[in-house]
């Protein structure tokens, strides 16, 4: 390195030893050498040494010193590539990639052929998806060191990513000729990659096929080979050969439904009979395979379906296949199949009760487990159909038959949860959990149920039975990136009004996604070095789509709605969540008895929490000690623990929300709530065009009133969310259009809005439109809530009272008849409780809960006294024993 130019031999040797120590992660030793150089007054301000010293400090966790030193070093020696490189490394370690890239570029200015810096730069460019830049850097590396196969393959991948296929293929061809590969498997991978690249480049299918056939012998990954070949043959229209390939694939794995689809296409089977015959043949050949037995159920109709389904059910109920219902659930979308399945299973039930047979014509008697699994299926069936009392009845019968089967308890937990009885659900899962304490899945389900019941602390204690010893629950879950849990925590905390905690959980999940992107670094060099290019490229593309994941969507939506609440009701920040309202006097006596038991449970909980806190303290101590002694040598910057209070007291809730809104718009454009939430944020930010864009996107998703096609203004068919958006937009426009200076925007807005149905335009009587909307669908709680929220937004002073009234003013019988979910009711309750419809007297909230209770008679989540039922083991089941009639 050129650093030696300014240092005499002795110091220069010391400097080299600094570099060596750094490479071997002996940071303290490195610092000693740096001190030796700097203590010589002649070199006290030696730039490169200062920079290196800073870098070493960085890895010892002393960030501030690090930046100070590196900047000083850089100032003293702006022409040193070492200083710039170090500055780049420092920023990279803090994930300031843009800055790091700039620093690397500067370093290369002073040492244009420095391979190490170029390599570091290329990684960051790829990480930032600067594909063009990456390709350029890789090209230079290739020209500098063409003997290294990594430089070949790196360049080829780069060319692939920017779409320069011709050059990539030419190089790949050359690459193979140069005999760079070490093993046969590597050669095989390169061949498959070349075929994939040819296909991606749009080469004629027959050429690609010819290439594959030519190299068939040398391609060792037969599965990929066959799958690829099959796909190409179908595309090429070589159906006969395609059929052969798919038959081979089915032979390898008779469970993959894609192979059957491929085979059906290749054989050009169109009629259901032909397809069923094919599956029958495959079934007789692979009698143990599930796919050729399950797939016919998708195809068959009517009586054929009945015959196949009967046999299918019978075999599996006899064998005891717990996920049977789950496997068949997709058939329920077909109303006819649903009816058939219901009649089959009810027949089975009747016959089993009367004669121990599924059907009278059966020659053998069934073991008791056949009845058991039939009851289990029946309960799930009626749960799906929303006939809750029958679902409860059947599962209770099943549990009486066999109280030790864990699946039954889990099913009952689901049913009760759907009834709106999260507490009962917890009780079932606690029992299930106790029956097999080694079952982690049941443990997790139990924790989920506790979260649904709003008991975050207890859920933590539950999962802690499986977490590592000597590690706090939260840090363990964070480390394990346990997002199903954190997402549920976020949901629960929001419902309970703990907005800070909710935000914290949301940000935890967000951090995991940042982490996933970070984790790519490990693969950029590894995959190219090992020549596993096909999965690598797929991995890069998949990483770009990661945030489509439902976990990310859920926490983003939650975070945005919380930030909106914080913006609109700043007072919420300081509101302590209310203790549950006083129970009615009649309940008090009853309550007293439970108190003792509760106190005991509470003491136990306290003890566990205490332990947890101790562990937490210890962990912090350990971490601190580790940092002090320089034991932590990780490259990743130590993340600051998220602070719920800090998140809650943000000064810029809208800006914070915008980050999530943008992610939602990019990765979840097919969800209507994305656009409805985006609208609310843009409304608060006062951005009319963005608002309209959101409304248009939401409208497109719902499918009617596209804006382009005015049609008859049938506003009753309008989505309540879009209804709200349009009214709020017109309301906003009326008050703000004058202050708008940009006339282009005005014109565009006017043009778009004029396509809306007249009642929604800015000159309309918006309050009236809002009320009319309710008159048309008065029995939907979701509509009531949307209208109520809109009323409150239209007239912030007088509105709330009127708005809240809307949530009380319904007729029980009619609302019962229309499809209202418990979620709708809970959403309404949440809006009443968090004050977004104005401050309400607590007694009104109790009143609302009472109404909901009569609407959902099996529910407990609307009980006025939240503590009710904690220890009444036998409370619910008796009343809802199996009723033989159809009650809904």
């Amino acid at each position: 390195m050129s650093s030696s130019t300014t240092l005499p031999t002795k110091e220069n040797n010391l400097f080299k030893r600094i570099l060596k120590s750094y490479e071997h992660k002996q940071y303290r030793t490195g610092l000693k050498f740096a001190k030796q150089i700097l203590s010589n007054s002649k070199f006290a301000e030696h730039g490169e040494t200062l920079a290196m010293k800073g870098l070493l400090h960085n890895y010892l966790g002393q960030k501030e010193d690090a930046y100070e030193l590196v900047r000083r070093g850089l100032k003293n020696d702006l022409r040193s590539h070492v200083c710039w490189h170090v500055y780049g490394l420092l920023q990279r370690s803090d994930r300031k990639y843009d800055g790091a890239i700039k620093a690397y570029h500067n370093a290369l200015k002073w040492d244009p052929d420095n391979v190490q810096i170029m390599r570091d730069l290329s990684l960051l460019q790829l990480q930032m998806r600067d594909n063009e830049g990456y390709c350029k850097t890789r090209g230079r590396l290739f020209k500098l060191r063409p003997n290294n196969r990594i430089n070949w393959m790196g360049y080829i991948v780069a060319l692939n990513l920017v779409g320069r296929y011709k050059q990539a293929l030419a190089m790949l061809e050359q690459f193979r000729k140069l005999q760079f590969v070490d093993t046969e498997y590597e050669a095989s991978e390169v061949l498959l990659y070349q075929a994939q690249l040819m296909d991606e480049a749009g080469r004629p299918t027959d050429k690609v096929l010819a290439f594959l056939s030519e190299n068939q012998e040398r391609i060792l990954d037969k599965l990929s080979f066959l799958e690829f070949q099959g796909r190409l043959l179908v595309a090429d229209g070589s159906y006969q050969r395609a059929a052969e390939v798919y038959n081979q694939l089915i032979d390898r794995n008779p469970e993959n439904s894609i192979y059957y689809q491929g085979l059906i296409t290749s054989l050009r089977l169109t009629s259901p009979e032909e397809k069923l015959a094919l599956f029958a043949e495959k079934h007789s050949r692979y009698p143990r395979a599930e796919a050729p037995q399950r797939l016919p159920l998708d195809i068959a109709q009517g009586e054929t379906f009945r015959t196949i389904a009967k046999l299918h059910l019978k075999e599996r109920l006899r064998k005891g296949v717990p996920p049977l219902f789950l496997n068949l659930k997709s058939l329920y979308e077909d109303a006819e199949k649903l009816e058939i399945l219901e009649s089959i299973i009810l027949d089975f039930y009747k016959n089993l009760c009367s004669s121990r047979k599924f059907e009278q014509s059966d020659d053998k008697l069934e073991p008791p487990t056949s009845l058991l699994w039939t009851l289990y299926f029946l309960s799930q069936h009626f749960d799906y159909r929303g006939k809750m009392d029958r679902a409860v009845g059947f599962i209770n019968d099943a549990l009486e038959h066999t109280p030790t089967l864990i699946e039954l308890l889990m099913c009952k937990a689901d049913v009760l949860n759907h009834c709106g009885d999260p507490r009962g659900s917890v009780r079932c899962l606690e029992e299930a959990q106790a029956l097999d304490t080694a079952d982690r899945y049941v443990n997790c389900e139990c924790a989920l149920a506790l979260l649904r019941d709003g008991r975050v602390d207890e859920a933590g204690v539950m999962v802690s039975r499986f977490t590592r010893d000597g590690c706090t629950i939260s840090s363990y879950l964070r480390e394990m990136q346990c997002m199903w849990y954190e997402t549920k925590v976020a949901l629960t905390e929001k419902r309970s009004g703990h907005l800070g905690q909710c935000l914290k959980a949301c940000h935890e999940v967000d951090r995991h996604f940042v982490e996933f992107v970070e984790d790519q670094f490990d693969f950029h060099s590894y995959c190219v070095r090992r020549l596993c290019i096909r999965p690598y490229i797929e991995f890069l593309r998949e990483t770009d789509r990661l945030k489509r994941h439902p976990f990310y969507a859920t926490v983003s939506e939650l975070a945005v709605s919380v930030y909106l609440l914080l913006h609109r009701q700043p007072g919420l920040r300081d509101r302590k969540p209310d203790p549950t309202p006083e129970p009615e006097a009649a309940r008090k006596a009853e309550r007293k008895q439970r108190k003792a038991a509760k106190r005991k449970a509470e003491a136990e909980r306290q003890r566990r929490m205490e332990e947890e806190r101790d562990r937490m303290r210890k962990e912090q101590r350990d971490r601190k000690r580790a940092v002090d002694s320089g034991e932590t040598e990780s490259d990743a910057p130590k993340e600051q623990e998220l602070d719920s209070d800090k998140l809650l007291h943000t000064e810029t809730p809208l800006t914070d929300a915008l980050r999530f809104v943008n992610a939602l718009r990019e990765f979840n454009p097919a969800s209507i709530s994305t656009h409805l939430l985006a609208f609310e944020v843009f409304l608060e930010l006062g951005k009319p065009l963005m608002m309209l864009q959101a409304v248009a996107a939401a409208t497109r998703l719902v499918g009617n009133h596209s804006g382009l096609n005015p049609g008859p203004p049938d506003i009753s068919a309008l989505h309540p969310g879009i209804h709200r958006c349009r009214i709020l937009f017109s309301h906003w426009w009326r008050r703000n259009s004058d202050s708008l200076t940009n006339s282009d925007v005005s014109e565009m807005v006017v043009a778009i809005v004029s396509e809306w149905p007249p009642p929604y335009r800015p000159d309309a009587e918006l309050t009236q439109t809002n009320e009319d909307f309710l008159t048309r669908t008065p029995d939907s709680l979701a509509v009531r809530l949307a209208v109520a929220r809109t009323t409150a937004s239209l007239a912030p002073e007088s509105g709330p009272r009127a708005a809240a009234a809307l949530l009380f003013d319904w007729e029980l019988d009619k609302v019962r008849e229309s499809a209202n979910s418990i979620i709708d009711a809970l959403n309404a309750l949440e809006s009443l409780e968090n004050g977004s419809l104005g401050e309400l007297d607590p007694s009104r909230i109790v009143e609302f809960k009472c109404k909901c209770r009569s609407l959902f008679p099996l529910s407990t989540c609307f009980n006025a006294d939240q503590d009710e039922g904690t220890d009444d083991e036998e409370e619910t089941p008796q009343t809802y024993q199996y009723l033989n009639g159809d009650y809904f």
């Binding site: 005891g320 121990r356 053998k364 008697l365 069934e366 073991p367 008791p368 487990t369 009845l371 058991l372 038959h401 066999t402 109280p403 030790t404 089967l405 864990i406 106790a434 029956l435 097999d436 304490t437 080694a438 079952d439």
Partner: protein, 221 residues
């Protein structure tokens, strides 16, 4: 999943598969739940904590992989005499007449085969429990004693002591209660599985109030 440690399976009635499995701290609750449902008496916590160390003497019975029954024994030594005592043996009502009881008794007898010092297997059964009495008769158990007021909280409170002698001099058997024998045979319904209610012999009828009436340990003669 439910049953990791089974012995080789037996095919029971109607093609059901019967296995025996080890009781561990993880599935102990299954035993508790079964006993709770099957027997009219509650067992003390100590009973369950002891069971964990019994090894082969305590087993869960699985029918098609579902835990539906259990057997718990202990070895009793008085002087130079060693006997196997069946504390509980039973299965859920819905699974009776499947041959599960037989598998459990066969298991108990196989312990005796392996332990040549065991002189006899014995148990208590409520005098009214006809089906259990008939069930054990099929395994050559004999009534060797009647203990009055053996059970504290259930009526009739008297118990027969049933014993199968492996070696040595068997005690003089009392005559089998005749009326009961004929009754079941005449029944004509599934007499093969007459161990319905092979449940009521427990030597530790501790009751819900938590008092441990451990007097029965003195019942050995």
């Amino acid at each position: 999943k439910t049953n990791p440690t089974t012995t080789s399976a037996t095919v029971g009635r109607y093609g059901g598969r019967i296995d025996l499995g080890t009781i561990t701290q993880h599935n102990l609750r299954q035993l508790k739940r079964l006993n709770q449902v099957i027997f009219p008496v509650a067992y003390h916590e100590k009973f369950y904590s002891d069971v964990l160390h019994f090894g082969d003497l305590a087993k869960l019975a699985y029918f098609n992989d579902i835990p539906v029954g259990a057997v718990c024994c202990r070895i009793e030594s008085t002087g130079d005499q060693r006997r196997l005592y069946i504390m509980t043996l039973g299965c859920l009502a819905a699974y009776r007449q499947m041959g599960i009881g037989k598998v459990m008794v066969d298991h108990v007898l196989s312990i005796c085969d392996r332990d040549s010092l065991l002189e006899a297997v014995y148990l208590h059964v409520q005098v009214s429990n006809d089906s259990a009495i008939n069930f054990y008769k099929r395994f050559d158990f004999e009534v060797v004693d009647i203990r009055s007021n053996y059970y504290k909280r259930i009526t009739p409170s008297d118990a027969y002591v049933l014993q199968k002698t492996i070696f040595g001099t068997p005690p003089t058997p009392l005559p089998w209660p005749q009326d009961k024998l004929s009754g079941v045979v005449e029944n004509g319904f599934d007499h093969e599985d007459s161990h319905i209610d092979d449940s009521l012999h427990s030597d530790e009828p501790t009751k819900n109030n938590g008092q441990n009436c451990n007097d029965s340990s003195s019942t050995q003669s």
